[in-house]
């Protein structure tokens, strides 16, 4: 029977809308700013094999990793009606520990017909420092590690698991609210999928499940077939791992043959002592993200789009770490560099179509201390935007999040009210974008004074190696982390550091500019 273009369009938009609706439930009901305001979450639906059908327009870094969490849940637990599996173990379907995932099955007449999953970044999951984004050397220091286990069995909450989790985190009440919101998101997905099956009948629905996967596959294959056949190579570096100062190489070789691509990371550096190790799920997310951006139309993010892509990432490398390596920075920093390497490689194949490097970091900033106004402990986490790489036909945007993240900033007027800091400057960083026919976007300067002593941690990159330009465009300015002590002493700090500050000390985070495109 021929595919009906009308039904195809309707189901495509239906499945996407369901994933979006799950996200809306989560955002509306979550407790923590991290989910509500920064929007650090993703929701997706899967067919009965665990192949992803649609993901909401949430976090790109979760694209390839959501399917792996469902796979891990299926492999490790027998999911029946009313069961919900919880996990955050990066080595079993997770990304980094703060990202907790819930997976549940959708049943029709006792037959499993879909899976739904949601994942959210929780602002604390225990470990050696508040916010659970430490400069760690082992995963055990990063927080509570949850393998795929049942949070609910047959519709009943497994209170042992619940209590264990809440006893291991710094802000249990907030976790409780966020987890409840996530349960609600999965229920929304379940309910909506059942409505769809009721309306169209399972035969019709299952046919279009297949068709939608094929659709994304076709569109991705079409995008790949535009790339000239051949083998292309590129490398780029992370500044360091935060423990030693040695650069870390990520190398990729992309082989394009017709409408498929082999993406081989074999020559990348081994995993490292610090926390910038990426698990395989991250690498898969990045590959999927980059190829999806080559498809000019909006297509469903699903397993079909992955089919033409073969990823080779040997275990034990920086792009597929083995336990017990620490991984929290792999998600936020290494992911950005893998993007840069892939685009650089594709630029060799299609010089006119690929943008120059964007800031290539998320400038993660965490602090913890006691607020002198209330005598209460506070912990805060934010990421800082930077310059976008110039595009072949237009300048890069300034002061914007790029590639694997799109989380919001905290308003100055909200930040100062809630935390003992004073913002001195939040501005673009003039002339930090690379020159070129098209200019790279400028980075930003976020400069604040601490009003009390605090422990601060910065996990950033592109402080040594600037974001590259393309086709003769200049690189963007590298970023800087500067600490100006109360007595006026000025220290330029490395990409990744953790230090104690006193009241009156000033931290200035200056994010990198984007690379330029084309000779001026």
């Amino acid at each position: 029977m021929k595919t009906n273009p009308v039904r195809l369009e309707i189901f495509k938009s239906l499945f996407h809308a369901i994933a979006e609706e799950m996200g809306a439930t989560l955002k509306r009901t979550a407790f923590s700013p991290n989910i509500k305001e920064r929007r650090d979450y993703s929701c997706a639906i899967f067919d009965h094999h665990g192949d992803m059908l649609a993901q909401g327009d949430h976090m790109p870094v979760h694209l390839g990793s959501m399917p792996l969490s469902v796979k891990a849940a299926i492999e490790n637990r027998n999911i029946g009606p009313g069961d919900i599996v919880i996990l955050n173990d990066p080595y079993k379907g997770g990304t980094h520990l703060p990202d907790i995932t819930l997976v549940s099955g959708v049943f029709s007449r006792k037959k499993l017909i879909f899976y739904v999953a949601c994942r959210a970044h929780h602002s604390d999951v225990g470990g050696m420092s508040p916010g659970s984004m430490p400069l760690a050397e082992e995963i055990y220091q990063e927080g509570l590690r949850i393998p795929p286990i049942k949070l609910m069995s047959g519709g009943k909450l497994n209170t042992d698991v619940w209590d264990l989790i809440l006893s291991n985190v710094r802000t249990p009440q907030e976790r409780e609210g966020d987890l409840a919101a996530m349960l609600g998101a999965n229920r929304t997905g379940e309910r909506r999928l059942m409505e769809v099956v009721e309306k169209y009948g399972w035969n019709e629905v299952s046919r279009y499940v297949t068709e939608i996967l094929n659709y994304s596959e076709r569109m991705t294959r079409h995008a790949i077939s535009v790339i000239p056949d051949g083998t292309y190579e590129a490398e780029d570096f992370l500044d360091n791992d935060g423990i030693t100062d040695k650069p870390i190489a990520i190398r990729v070789r992309i082989q394009i043959k017709g409408d498929q691509a082999v993406i081989d990371f074999s020559r990348s550096d081994p995993q490292v002592q610090g926390s910038v190790n990426a698990v395989y799920a991250i690498t898969a997310s990045v590959v999927f993200y980059v190829f999806r951006t080559l498809v000019s139309l909006l297509i469903p993010s699903n397993a079909g789009g992955m089919r033409p892509l073969q990823i080779i990432a040997p275990e034990g490398t920086i792009v597929n770490a083995r336990p017990p390596a620490a991984v929290c920075g792999g998600n936020v920093e290494t992911s950005q560099r893998i993007v840069d390497v892939l685009y650089k490689c594709l630029a060799a194949a299609m010089p006119g179509r690929i943008p120059a490097a964007s800031q290539g970091t998320m400038n993660n900033f965490t602090f913890g201390g006691v607020d002198p106004r209330t005598q209460k402990a506070v912990a805060y986490y934010e990421t800082v935007s930077g310059g976008m790489g110039a595009r072949p036909t237009m300048d890069g945007l300034s002061g914007v999040h790029t590639h694997m993240t799109n989380s919001m900033n905290t308003p100055v007027e909200a930040l100062e009210h809630a935390y003992p800091v004073r913002m001195l400057r939040y501005s673009l960083r003039p002339e930090s974008g690379g020159q070129g026919k098209c200019r790279g976007g400028d980075g930003v300067i976020r400069e604040l004074r601490f009003l009390t002593k605090a422990q601060i941690t910065v996990l950033s990159d592109r402080r040594k190696f600037p974001p590259y330009g393309l086709n003769g465009g200049e690189p963007g300015q590298r970023g800087m982390n500067v600490l100006i002590r109360k007595d006026g002493r000025r220290e330029e700090l490395p990409s990744k550091f953790s230090t104690a500050v006193e009241a009156g000390d000033i931290l200035s985070i200056q994010s990198p500019g984007g690379g330029g495109w084309g000779r001026k």
């Binding site: 595919t3 009906n4 273009p5 009308v6 195809l8 369009e9 309707i10 938009s13 239906l14 809308a17 609706e21 809306a24 439930t25 509306r28 009901t29 407790f31 923590s32 700013p33 509500k36 327009d57 790109p60 009440q173 609210g177 409840a180 919101a181 659709y215 994304s216 076709r218 569109m219 079409h222 951006t293 498809v295 139309l297 909006l298 800082v384 935007s385 976008m388 036909t393 237009m394 945007l397 002061g399 914007v400 999040h401 790029t402 799109n406 900033n409 308003p411 100055v412 007027e413 909200a414 100062e416 009210h417 809630a418 913002m423 001195l424 939040y426 501005s427 673009l428 930003v444 400069e447």
Partner: protein, 655 residues
């Protein structure tokens, strides 16, 4: 004799006029004159005898268009030094995740006109760094040489202490150009949203001022009021000073009209469905019109209260095309008014309107009273020239497919404002107006489980009717950011101030004390949360907050400290409402004007065609039927029954 009020709604194609005389609603239209909207208005008003109108209430697109087309004033922004780029960075996000060619909305303030003032106020309103006047004068000198037409002033924490903004205002007076202060436009926290709202106000000010001034001059002594985005109308002079409040003037009129007609006819919960040429507006009303403080217009945040209207790119002019992956897409690209659908005479792309004509649902004899011909014969040859369309076995099949897709797009839009916000569409009535909706409403309702569709009288002029029905409304707010417990004295003080302001302004609007009403609200949240719930200000408002939180989000934390973020007051001035008279029951059966084949559910079905003018209270029509009228056409599918109620609404229900 000055005895009636006239609603004038300027639209892209037509300017609609509504008058109620002797309890009867009269409507008529003039072609719009987009370059000078007042020309069409004056032409329409010329139909009345001199000085007949008691008041003109105007729904205007001047502010919207100036914003969308970036035709506002050359604007400078004065903000706290170090934060000049807040307006550029925004919330640091990009609009589309997977588009490497993503853009930002064009900024309203040019580079070089974002200027930092040396001063600093803290969150509690205390002054850390007093305003440096010398430095400020230097900045003003720079503005002077730059042909600036309007200035926005938005300093950090101006909601807590507006003294520095007021000082700057005094220093700017000699420039003789309009100044917008953030502490007056939107005295609420979150600097980006407040600055953006203030800048939009400054950007639109000169243009809106000129337009309303000219219009008022031509109306001479007849008072002029303007519809705001919040659903209330205010005096032209006040509107000219706060143009940001009129951005969605027209659509707001539509919702107000729908709400009042629905209330009068006995439908407390409605989902408004306004399908036009390029887009569809939907909004949900339950006992009241819902207002939001978190709107975006063209990608820019607008933090003042606006009716919560969701717009989707699906309309009569939406273009159908096959994407490279083999799916049929409809919209958001639109053929607009030019070239328009194929059947309008110039278009070459298949649109939703063409699809309706192909299926025999849109009848030339009714289309704008036959004033604009529908070139039915143009469609088939044009469609044959579209390569992708050949895979359909018949044109009718393709047309039905396009309708199914556009219906699905609109269904998702309705889900977004209902299901995603915790409302069940099955508890609502779909209230259908605008030109294109009547052909889609029954299918849309069916898809959502909505039990009833109501098509009011004059569905094409409901926005203009809403203008006459609207009360005057002004919203006031102040950010406090204090603990809810023990907030009494600060809350009382802030409220007194808001009430003083509200009462004075409504009296200026010409209302007597007895016509003025106010309602107070507080925005509350648990400390640490970043979004607030708006709760009516009652004695035990904290308890209420826990209860509402429980209801909305499924849990509450009665032990957690509650923060009082904003206090809000709404003042309204009651305007005289026309009585909607009940129409006497008609005897007998309605007579169709003809009977013809129409494609419904992929079959040709013999369908009775009725002229709405001939239908009266108590008449019932069984589907399949089509009811045509001057500005709209309604399809009653098989299995549906349409009855005419006492207010002459068409009421469609599954039979």
């Amino acid at each position: 004799m000055k005895n009636f009020r006239i609603g004038v709604d300027t639209g892209g194609t037509f300017t609609d006029f509504v008058v109620i005389r002797g309890g009867k609603i009269e409507i008529f239209k003039e072609l719009s004159t987009p370059q000078h909207p007042e020309e069409a208005i004056m032409k329409g008003l010329a139909r009345f005898e001199e000085d007949a109108a008691k008041e003109v209430i105007h729904g205007s697109t001047v502010a919207t268009n100036a914003l969308l087309e970036r035709k506002g004033a050359r604007t400078a922004l004065l903000t706290t030094e170090g934060f000049e780029d807040v307006i550029v960075i925004g919330r640091q996000t990009r609009r589309q995740l997977y588009n490497i060619f993503v853009t930002r909305p064009e900024p309203l303030v040019a580079d070089g006109l974002r200027l930092g003032v040396r001063e600093r106020v803290l969150y509690d309103g205390s002054v850390e760094l007093p305003l440096d006047r010398e430095h400020l004068r230097g900045l003003i000198d720079r503005i002077r040489g730059q042909n600036v037409e309007s200035v926005a002033v938005a300093l950090l924490y101006s909601f807590a202490n507006s003294a520095h903004e007021e000082q700057i205002l005094r220093e700017l007076l000699p420039l003789g150009i309009p100044v917008s202060l953030s502490s007056r436009v939107m005295p609420e926290y979150r600097e980006y949203e407040r600055t953006s709202t203030t800048v939009i106000n400054a950007y639109l000010g000169p243009l809106m001022g000129r337009y309303l001034h000219q219009l008022q001059a031509r109306l001479r002594n007849c008072p002029l009021r303007v519809m705001q985005s919040n659903g209330g109308a205010i005096q032209a002079e006040a509107a000219a000073a706060a143009p940001v409040r009129t951005i969605v003037s027209g659509p707001a009129g539509g919702v107000v009209g729908a709400f009042h007609v629905a209330q009068a006819s006995g439908y407390p919960g409605i989902i408004t469905f306004d399908m036009g040429g390029t887009s569809t507006d939907v909004s949900l009303c339950l006992d009241s019109i819902k207002v939001t403080h978190e709107s975006h217009v063209d990608g820019l945040p607008v933090g003042i209260p606006m009716i919560d209207i969701h717009t989707v790119g699906a309309g009569g002019g939406s273009i159908a095309q096959l994407d490279p992956g083999g799916a049929l897409k409809v919209g958001p690209e639109s053929a607009g008014a030019d070239p328009g659908p194929i059947c309008y005479g110039k278009g070459t792309q298949l649109t939703v309107t063409d699809a309706n004509v192909i299926l025999g649902r849109l009848l030339p004899r009714f289309f704008l009273g036959g004033a604009m011909p529908l070139l039915v014969d143009r469609i088939e040859p044009s469609a044959r020239r579209l390569d992708w369309a050949r895979q359909w076995k018949s044109l009718e099949d393709l047309a039905q497919g396009a309708i199914d897709v556009v219906n699905n797009n609109m269904e998702q839009a309705v889900r977004l404002i209902s299901v995603e916000r915790g409302y069940d569409p099955r508890d609502f009535t779909l209230f259908c107006f605008g030109g294109a909706g009547g052909l889609h409403a029954a299918a849309l309702a069916g898809g959502l489980g909505i039990p009833r569709v109501v098509v009011p009288r004059f569905p094409g002029a409901l926005s203009a009717l809403g203008l006459i029905l609207a009360d005057a409304r002004k919203d006031y707010s102040r950010t406090l950011l204090i603990n809810a417990e023990g907030s009494d004295s600060k809350l009382r003080k802030a409220l007194e101030e808001l009430h003083r302001l509200g009462m004075a302004e409504l009296q200026t609007e010409g209302f007597r004390k007895s016509e003025i009403q106010s309602a107070d609200f507080v925005d509350l949240r648990y400390r640490g949360q970043s979004y607030e719930l708006t709760i009516p200000l009652v004695r035990n408002f904290v308890e209420q907050f826990h209860a509402v939180h429980e209801r909305r989000y499924g849990y509450s934390n009665p032990d957690s400290p509650v923060e009082l973020v904003n206090v809000r007051t709404t003042f309204s001035g009651r305007t005289p409402k026309p009585k909607f008279g009940k129409s006497p029951k008609q005897r007998g059966k309605p007579q169709p004007v003809e009977s013809r084949p129409v494609w419904i559910d992929r079959k040709r079905v013999k369908t009775a065609i009725y002229d709405r003018e001939t239908l009266g209270h108590g008449h019932t029509i069984r589907g399949p039927a089509i009811i045509g009228e001057y500005s709209s056409t309604t399809l009653v599918p098989p299995g549906f029954r349409c009855s005419v109620d006492a207010y002459l609404n068409l009421v469609l229900e599954a039979s």
